[in-house]
Amino acid sequence: MQPSKQAWGLIKLAVFIVCLTPFLLLCLDTWQDNLGANPIEALHIRLGDWALRFLCLNLFLSPYKHLTGQHWVNRFRRMLGLYCFFYAFMHLLVYIVLDLSLSSQALLDEIRESPYILFGLITFVLLLPMAMTSSKNMQRRLGKNWKRLHSLIYPAAITAVLHYILLVKSDLNEPLIYADIVLILLAYRLIRHIKKQRIMVKTS
């Protein structure tokens, strides 16, 4: 049985609130001074982690749909994508405002001296056009190019993982978990793409 239009509205609202919960908890912890000895680092890590989790979740939607035939996931694609951007944007905002105190000189120094900052900024630049063209209107206007533009998520996933790997001092376990997830999800697409091409060659 298909849920009614009204039911979908409620389900979407519930998913929206669930996705916002990590942010609300973070606000609560900040308010209660519950972030430990290095609160800015804690904000960074938690916002960055959620951005990366939503990025992985987005990459997971298509394979899930292909493998299970459950097309309803398409209804959440945009919301989850925008949540990835939201957490990435807050992550960047904490860095620029709290960590660098809005000093452009400090930012330039850090870009010059830290490859991981550079990869972080590249990731954000890749996510930005996708967030800006997320509306149905833009999707219609861009037509075929919309899909092309939104494949920026693949390089963004790679630079995001590199950003994480490069900042870790010695224990790579956690960033490598994300690297594995991204690799598997990208490999799935690559294999599917190659198979499709072969079928096209055979049928032509």
């Binding site: 000895a37 709290l98 105190s101 000093s103 120094d109 001296e113 900042l167 001092k169 010695s170 224990d171």
Partner: protein, 314 residues
């Protein structure tokens, strides 16, 4: 209570500034503990209090970081790479009785009980800056004694050019040693002149109490002009050597962690800047502090590196 009028106070009755400061430290630390004891799962400080510890030379009059922050934010990879979990896990470590093996190029090698080492070396308080390679810093009132004083007692030979320190190896309790985040046991080293420098401290306490386990009890090194990873915790062996010893972080990533590890804003870590540092305990709106060369101890230690290219010998 007798209230004296000011003209009647003899100079002998005026509290010495250092005593006054020490009292403030005690109060501050005590407040830290009472807060800690209210938190669930938190680790309160040890019962053993140090009293009337004189303030030593080079101690700076700096705003001390809260005890809570210093004792709940530590890099102790022997237990875990998580800074806050280390606080809990380290409580399983037994720090008494404790022995330290002193060997290598010394005339009086041996295995010594920690009490005997402490008996011969009067303690002093040193408020030092502490800068981590991860670009954060704090100010800690350590209690300890100069390493050089100890080394002299064991009579290093003329061949002693370096000192190697080793942390306890006990993977049953130090569960991080079961992993490969670093080559175990943790080892660090100093050149002999760095080791003999009066700034270099062996610490047994901080904030007027015994060192908390997560901060390196019962005996740790403090080298304030170097990044924190040089300041090895839970020392069980001090060996004097003719040649430069291998060190854990240098073995793990030689391109990133040199033997010297002097704090230097001009030499970025290969993956991040060292120009600025975040002070622990500051409000989230406090800007980062500019890192000082040799962590601000250049006047005392720059001469040790005269003629050396610090970009090469980082």
């Amino acid at each position: 209570m007798l209230i004296k009028e000011s003209p009647n106070i003899a100079s002998s009755e005026i509290t010495d500034q250092s005593v006054f400061k020490a009292r403030r430290q005690i109060i501050k630390a005590a407040m830290g503990i009472s807060v800690a004891s209210m938190l669930p799962n938190s680790v309160s400080a040890t019962d053993k209090r140090y009293q009337n510890i004189p303030v030593g030379p080079y101690s700076q009059d700096l705003q001390v970081t809260d005890f809570e922050d210093v004792s709940h934010y530590t890099n102790y990879y022997e237990f875990t790479t998580n800074k806050t979990d280390a606080t809990v896990l380290a409580q399983g470590l037994q720090t008494s009785p404790w022995q330290v093996k002193i060997d290598g190029e010394v005339d009086k090698p041996g295995i010594y009980n920690l009490e005997d080492i402490l008996k011969d070396n009067p303690l002093q308080q040193r408020i030092y800056r502490f800068r981590c390679v991860e670009a954060w810093s704090m100010v800690v009132p350590w209690i300890g004694f100069p390493l050089g004083e100890l080394l002299k007692k064991f009579q290093p030979t003329s061949r002693a050019k370096f000192v190697e320190f080793t942390t306890l190896y006990n993977p049953r309790v130090m569960i991080g040693q079961g992993g490969d985040s670093l080559p175990w046991p943790y080892r660090e080293g100093l050149r002999i002149d760095e080791a003999m420098h009066p700034l270099t401290l062996l610490a047994t306490g901080m904030y007027d109490q015994e060192l908390p386990k997560q901060n390196g009890a019962p005996l740790r090194l403090v080298v304030p002009w170097k990044y924190g990873f040089k300041s090895i915790k839970a020392i069980v062996r001090i060996r004097l050597l003719e040649s430069m010893p291998a060190t854990a972080w240098n073995q793990r990533a030689p391109g990133e962690y040199g033997f010297y590890a002097n704090v230097n804003p001009e030499v970025p870590h290969p993956r991040w800047s060292q120009a600025r540092e975040r002070m622990l305990g500051a409000s989230i709106f406090t800007p980062k502090r500019r890192t000082e060369k040799f962590n601000g101890y250049g006047e005392q230690v720059a001469a040790l590196y005269r003629g050396m290219d610090l970009k090469k010998f980082f």
